[in-house]
Symmetry: C2
Subunit: 399 residues, 2 copies
């Protein structure tokens, strides 16, 4: 990091009472924290939030809880619940993603919290929407990816469905909720009223997978797995030296008939330019295996980096399949501040910051908090409690 | 749709001057439109935006341009450019995702537009960030998914990298930019100043793929493809009647040792409860093929819907792999307003709306506009031009 990170500070002054756990909820409030909101995680005194508790290392927690504060409260004690209700009176946003029904059992359901504070934006993530046949079901990222259609469109053309690696069910949902929260805050400047927001992971996965509804409308059938076909060459091609991620992805477009002769020229097969066996998109699709072999024969003799540079240099879209280590090793990410190395106690991790630049700079990352790190500070700031009072609450195992 | 959709209206009064195309940019402004912003697409008079031009059917355009207005302007005419500059003076947000350098060549770069209107939020999507070695490269969703690490973590454990079906490079980027735009608008209420926002598709894909940096921190190696392993059974299992998407995804958790005996009971293999060959997570990982076969032997005798209901009913997380047609056929989506059927001229399509509910209701979908449908209306509203003036501009092929 070249020290060029600057906090965007867009949501300075916004107080978020954060009861989220794992990733779908925490990624949402982390986005708010990157924008400058004061996000206070409320965690159980014994072990903390589920994403921190019982996990051997803190990396998971670090990734999704940067820039937040942590306080501990025993929500099952009467006084603890009262304290959190007092905080709800001061908060702008309340967030949670417990299992269905749990927040109501805790005594912090929408009706309770919105009565305490009608200006609050009350935001929830569940696996399935209210009214879904699975409404009461537990959900994790892969379950949402299965039920939301993402797996049905991922995989080899004739192979099994495959789970996408990116956590569309978790972080994907978190992003949609974060956008909705800020929109509701914007509106509140005029209405002075809060809103109730509900995101379902299944529905969110469908949002990122919308292409399947386009293909279904076109064909009248369920969308197929990728690559879609309809053109060739299009897809992933093996590169030197043949490691598990030594591939280049390239695509030629029906709308761009020059792509094919450009490729032929690049791979030294000018002899095939104009050859009717390959000259139209339809002809190439019919001979796809042959076409792919022509291209692979060339890509196998180049590294993915060379292949990407040469193919895209020839005017055909191409991208190397980079893995996490290669991305970490690419110095421009550190220089641009997109990847930053953070510490959490004795642990250290290189992780991405919020990827959108504001006025040319990425946001800095403050490491995820230690459990209860801000208990004294936040109770003083939000509720005016003195350190002795907090100490007493601690002795009583309320915080 | 049961008529229960209600526009959230959070961004009412916000004017978006929208020069986006294809999906990464259009999905961003569509989100703003779902929140009630007035999004005006500026399209070339001949054929319109690239995602509409030369495509055989309008489904792609319909999916990413709901609730927007469309005007036509020839940006290469001096008068046309002046008109758009006049609009920039009135707009709250300016968005574009042309190829690198194109917006500056059009004469609508950040310096020009922010000088005309210092309050404007100027937001751009490119494939790669400023300072990246690929900064000037063209990008499409699969290229971003290759270069952003998503493909490296998607696929069978020992297979090739696979492109995730959800368009994380496109819609994924659009969501991060939309959140950033509304955050900047929120801030502007106090500062009265606009901001410059830049999102790169590669960086955005890394955001959704952050899990790979966690696994890399844990192992010191590049993150592997899914499923991660570390527990068994965990993954996708075949169901009756054996169609391409007849699978159920289930996961057992190391933190939850009851998952295994629950499964054994469900599949009628109580005889194996406590059997040391399978009793610990470590033992099951060692005999993973055997464990998977035990489970598959049962799942093959059930449909995915039955399997999901029975497994999750037994307290083990499970989800059926639904395809687009099955999701469309599930009546609760229409009833909940999450899927809505829209018309665009003679075309009709069932598509998802914004998935987050506001006060219990999803937003309605107004179909994507016809090319230039709002030219007369918008020039009157934004610039006070009369219909005769607009007619003259049309005759001169300026609009």
């Amino acid at each position: 990091m070249d020290g060029n990170a600057v906090a965007p500070n867009c949501l300075a002054g916004i107080k978020v009472l954060d009861l989220t756990q794992f990733e779908a909820g925490t990624s949402c409030t982390e986005a708010l924290a990157w924008m400058g909101a004061e996000v206070v995680k409320v965690e159980p005194p014994k072990g903390g939030e589920a994403g921190r508790r019982g996990v051997a290392d803190p990396y998971y927690f670090m990734a999704y809880n940067a820039n937040k504060k942590s306080i501990t409260v025993n929500l099952k004690s009467e006084r603890g619940l009262e304290l959190v209700k007092d905080m709800a009176r001061k908060a702008d946003v309340f967030t949670e993603n417990f299992a269905p029904g749990a927040i109501e059992r805790l005594g912090l359901g929408y009706d309770v919290v919105s009565a305490l504070n009608p200006r609050i934006v009350y935001a929830q993530v569940k696996g399935f929407g209210v009214g879904s046949p699975y409404e009461n079901g537990l959900c994790f990222d892969p379950i949402a990816q299965a039920c939301g259609g993402a797996m049905s469109i991922t995989g080899e053309r004739d192979g099994k469905p495959v789970k996408p690696g990116p956590t569309i069910g978790d972080t994907g949902t978190g992003m949609l909720l974060a956008f909705s929260i800020v929109s509701a805050l914007y509106q509140r400047m005029q209405t002075e009223k809060g809103r109730r927001l509900q995101a379902a992971m299944q529905d969110s996965v469908m949002h990122y997978s919308r292409g399947m509804f386009i293909r279904q409308a076109q064909t009248g059938k369920a969308a197929l797995r990728q690559p879609i076909g309809g053109n060739a060459p299009h897809g992933i091609f093996p590169c030197k030296p043949g490691g598990p991620n030594d591939y280049v992805y390239l695509l030629t477009s029906r709308a761009n008939p020059e792509h094919w002769p450009r490729l032929l020229k690049l791979i030294g097969r000018e002899d095939l330019i104009g050859d009717p066996r390959y000259d139209t998109a339809a002809a190439r699709v019919e001979r796809e295996a042959e076409v792919d072999e022509l291209i692979s024969d060339w890509t196998r003799r180049h590294t993915k980096q060379e292949a990407m540079a040469l193919i895209s240099g020839a005017g055909v879209p191409a991208g190397a399949v980079f893995d996490s280590m290669e991305l970490t090793g690419e110095p421009s990410f550190a220089k641009r501040g997109i990847l930053q190395t953070v510490r959490h106690g004795d642990w250290q991790m290189t992780m991405p910051t919020w990827p959108v630049r504001f006025d040319g700079a990425p946001p800095p990352i403050n490491p995820a908090p230690q459990l209860g790190e801000h208990t004294t500070e936040v109770f003083a700031d939000w509720l005016g409690l003195g350190p002795t009072e907090v100490e007493k609450l601690r002795e009583q195992e309320i915080v």
